[in-house]
């Protein structure tokens, strides 16, 4: 009896902690490859494109402040939209330098604060690196500076040519653009320097590993900035009554949908590992889920998530280009879009997170 017991115990011990059989490891999912796909084909190209758009914005900013004309204002506006669209492709990647700079909070906090901006212009002394100045800079502040100062383009140009404070407006405008460009330069330099290798080689599974951080960031972005910020908050989901002034690019008016669609597409592309500006796909959350599915014969989760991305896109296609207009005429369409976005929160935050076994934080747990 006893001998039998010992035999089985030994057998169990051996089966549970012994045995190094590397024979089948080839079908393992390679997280390092996923990380390098993210870095080399998605994040870095997206940042480089963002940086290029910002340097275009800088040129147009200089052209306009040198010679404030309606034509130059229109050019400036176009490059502002292009840079703003490029931003939607990098906003979710708040890792590395972007994280330490807290770049999202200094780039796209809206609604912006016109009275704060006017105070800054009037006083001429402001430190844009202070967290209290979050809502007085970035794209939303530029939106106010080039779309919201007056009701016609001619009047707006007049603000910049005004004897008293035209120069102060010019300075502030250029300072805003410079700040964006500086942050982007730092981030790109960091990715092109040592950070890329640090990121790709951090392929472990701890709570602070690159995969865990990016996945947590991605979901945080999707839930808070895409679903809530762009659609939910203006549609009144969190306040009881709609806030049409809380849409992205409120002063411009006609690009809130465009910006939302860019952001939705970029989250979808990231999920699928689609290379920036191309249709090729590499290792991604999608292929990771598909791999894990082969282990546990689960449902086709990545398929469900992609279907839900499409549903969100179709719901959004019914919306007016101007979200604050849409809220005024028929807010229920905004709420429908929100509901579709919300369904993917559940699929990704509940089902995907469970499948990936991504830890939320470094803390002891015994799984109950």
């Amino acid at each position: 009896m006893l001998k039998k017991l010992i035999f089985w115990s030994v057998a169990i011990l051996v089966s549970s902690c012994g045995g190094d059989e590397p024979s089948d490891v080839t079908d393992d999912f390679d997280r390092g490859e996923m990380l390098s796909n993210w870095a080399d084909n998605i994040i870095i190209p997206a940042y480089v494109s963002y940086q290029a758009e910002l340097s275009g914005l800088k040129t147009q900013g200089a052209a306009f402040t040198n010679e404030p004309t309606v034509q130059n204002l229109e050019n400036l506006r176009t490059s502002w939209i292009n840079a703003y669209k490029a931003w939607q492709h990098v906003s979710m990647f708040e890792v590395g330098k972007a994280e330490s700079l807290n770049v999202r909070n200094y780039t796209n906090i809206y609604p912006t604060n016109p009275s704060g901006i006017n105070d800054n212009i009037a006083s001429g002394s402001y430190n844009l690196e202070l967290p209290s100045k979050n809502d007085e800079q970035g794209f939303p502040a530029l939106d106010y500076m080039i779309n919201g100062l007056a009701s016609t383009d001619a009047e707006m140009v007049a603000v910049y040519t005004n004897q008293d404070n035209g120069q102060a407006h010019k300075t502030y405008l250029n300072d805003l653009i410079d700040r964006l460009a500086e942050m982007a330069d730092e981030i790109v330099a960091d990715w092109k320097g040592s950070y890329r290798d640090t990121f790709v080689s951090d392929d472990g599974s701890s709570a602070t590993s690159a995969t865990n951080k990016v996945v947590n960031d991605f979901l945080f972005y999707y839930e808070k900035f895409l679903r809530a910020g762009k659609v939910g908050i203006p549609a009144g989901v969190f306040s009881g009554s709609a806030i049409p002034t809380a849409v992205e690019a409120y002063y411009h008016g006609e690009v809130s949908k465009t910006l939302f669609q860019e952001a939705l597409n970029s989250t979808e592309n990231f999920f699928n590992g689609q290379h920036f500006g191309a249709s090729t796909q590499g290792e991604s959350l999608k292929s990771y889920l598909d791999y894990l599915n082969t282990i546990k014969d689960g449902e086709d989760l990545s398929g469900l998530i992609n279907t839900q991305f499409s549903s969100s896109r179709s719901a959004a296609s019914l919306l007016d280009d101007n979200f604050s207009e849409q809220i005024g005429t028929d807010n229920s369409l905004m709420l429908q879009t929100y509901d579709e976005l919300q369904k993917n929160v559940i699929l990704m935050k509940v089902d995907m997170m469970q499948a990936l076994n991504v830890k939320i934080d470094y803390i002891d747990a015994d799984g109950d």
Binding site: L2, L5, I6, W8, S9, I12, L13, S15, S16, C17, D20, E21, P22, D24, V25, D27, D28, F29, R31, D203, G204, S205, A207, N216, K224, A228, G232, G236, V237, F238, S239, G240, S241, L292, I295, K296, G298, E299, V345, I346, L347, K349, V350, D351, M353, Q354, A355, L356, N357, V358, K359, I360, D361, Y362, I363, D364, A365, D366, G367, D368
Partner: protein, 457 residues
């Protein structure tokens, strides 16, 4: 039978195993507290959050802001005093109270091993663990070389209950037939050398599941019998080191390893203690006085027997309280805690709270992260008692807002939970106003049905 038991109660044995247990337990607890502090968890878990999830009936136990550190300091000092056996009774009572206080501050951090520490330290209050190799025992009045056998057996019994019940809980279809949740957890350890590739294999998930169940069920017996003891201890070390490699379970493996030592006889413990004595430049011989420890009064004896007996009855019965609740235990978690159900579930969820002012028809959703830390939100989303408590908090919070003063707000939740690799399903009835539901030990009929079955205990 009763005579035999009476006789058993008077049997004596050497105090060394109990003393060694006291020293190691105190020392590991001290390290645990330091580690907790060092990791910044006091700040993060008990000071930073704005809201805390209390245990039902213990709502008055809350973190004390910056003074929370004082509780940890008290707990740390008490654990050192336990280790050194200095003013032992006071120290172990202080340790039990301060440690349990910490655990009761927020159930977000509930872990079976913290509960285990509370339970062990409660039991130790009634055990003469300070009569040998302690500062207290430097005084001849206190020093005793012999203690009742039951005082050591009580610790063994508690450890046996923990393992055996943990084993019983694994006898369910998810664990044995589906190899869940290990099938989810193990592959994410891909970065371990050698094991990483193995952990991607399905057969390995089954092997780990079955081996874990057999281990838990058999280890108390293997430790108990002398002939299998060394082997069993080897298993304990291997098993717990492996789990500490695979899962983020902190100090627990080390606590269980030192606990298993108590099954060894006094000879081994005297060797361990002699080594410790040598390090501390003292010697064991002064404690070897051949004297027996006895209760100071008959009343004290009866009270101790009563409490210890009651304690074990509760320990044996409590894990079965889930039988009084309908529905799937893993889904409702009614009767899940305090039952040695360890590592059994992978649960993820999302809860979307809707606040409604029925008078004006205003309705809005809540951003949970305005109120909760990521960890709190994760725990809240999958446990009904958390959801209810948070709903009540939201009612209270928003009815203090100017716009809703004096209004009778309603709170609804749309929530989804995924359990052990199943697709997520709606969790709480979204039509039930949670502000009128009360917390109690009764079944919460607003939890939606699981729609699946997990067979077994």
């Amino acid at each position: 039978m009763i005579q035999a038991f009476d006789k058993y109660l008077t049997q004596k044995t050497e105090a060394a195993p109990l003393a060694a247990f006291r020293v190691l337990f105190g020392a590991v607890m001290f390290v645990s507290i330091l580690r907790f502090w060092h990791n910044g968890w006091i700040e993060k878990l008990y000071i930073d959050p704005t809201f805390f999830f209390s245990y039902y009936g213990f709502e008055f136990i809350k973190p004390l802001g910056q003074y929370t550190y004082v509780i940890f300091i008290i707990c740390g000092i008490a654990s050192l005093c336990v280790a050194f056996g200095y003013k032992y009774r006071l120290a172990i009572v202080t340790f039990f109270i301060s440690f349990t206080y910490i655990e009761l501050m927020d159930k977000t951090t509930y872990l079976n091993h913290y509960y285990f520490v509370s339970v062990v330290s409660f039991l130790m209050v009634f055990l003469p663990a300070h009569t040998y190799f302690s500062i207290d025992a430097k005084n001849e009045e206190t020093a005793r070389e012999l203690v009742p056998v039951w005082t050591i057996d009580a610790v063994k019994l508690l450890i046996a209950i923990v393992y055996f019940y943990a084993g019983l809980a694994k006898l369910n279809s998810d664990w044995l037939v589906q190899a869940m949740p290990l099938k989810i957890w193990l592959p994410s350890n891909y970065d371990l050398p050698i094991l990483g590739g193995l952990l991607q294999q399905q057969w390995a998930h089954y092997a780990f599941s079955w081996a874990g169940a057999v281990y838990d069920l058999s280890i108390p017996f293997l430790l108990f019998y002398k002939r299998t003891r060394w082997f069993a201890f080897g298993m304990v070390v291997a098993f717990h080191l492996l789990t500490s490699l695979l899962f983020p379970i902190g100090m627990f493996p080390f606590i269980m390893i030192i606990c298993a030592l108590i099954f060894f006889d006094a000879r081994i413990h005297k060797i361990i203690l002699a080594k410790m004595a040598w390090v501390m430049k003292t010697s064991l011989s002064e404690f070897n006085n051949g004297k027996e420890w006895m209760f100071k009064s008959k009343w004290g004896m009866k009270a101790t027997y009563f409490v210890v007996l009651l304690f074990f009855m509760v320990q044996l019965a409590l894990p079965f309280r889930q039988l009084f609740y309908p529905g799937e235990l893993f889904w409702t978690e009614e009767g899940f805690r305090f039952s040695w159900r360890v590592m059994l579930m992978e649960k993820a969820g999302h809860a979307n709270f809707k606040v409604v002012d029925p008078e004006s028809g205003t309705r809005f959703y809540v951003q949970n992260n305005d109120f909760l830390t990521p960890l709190q939100e994760k725990q809240m989303s999958v446990q009904p008692d958390f959801i209810l408590q948070f709903a009540h908090y939201l009612e209270q919070y928003f009815s203090q807002k100017e716009a809703y003063k004096g209004k009778d707000l309603q709170v609804f939740v749309e929530s989804h939970v995924a359990l052990n690799g199943r697709r997520s399903k709606p969790y709480i009835d979204p039509t039930r106003d949670l502000t009128i539901e009360k917390e109690s030990f009764r079944h919460k009929d607003w939890i939606l049905p699981f729609g699946d079955e997990i067979k077994g205990l």
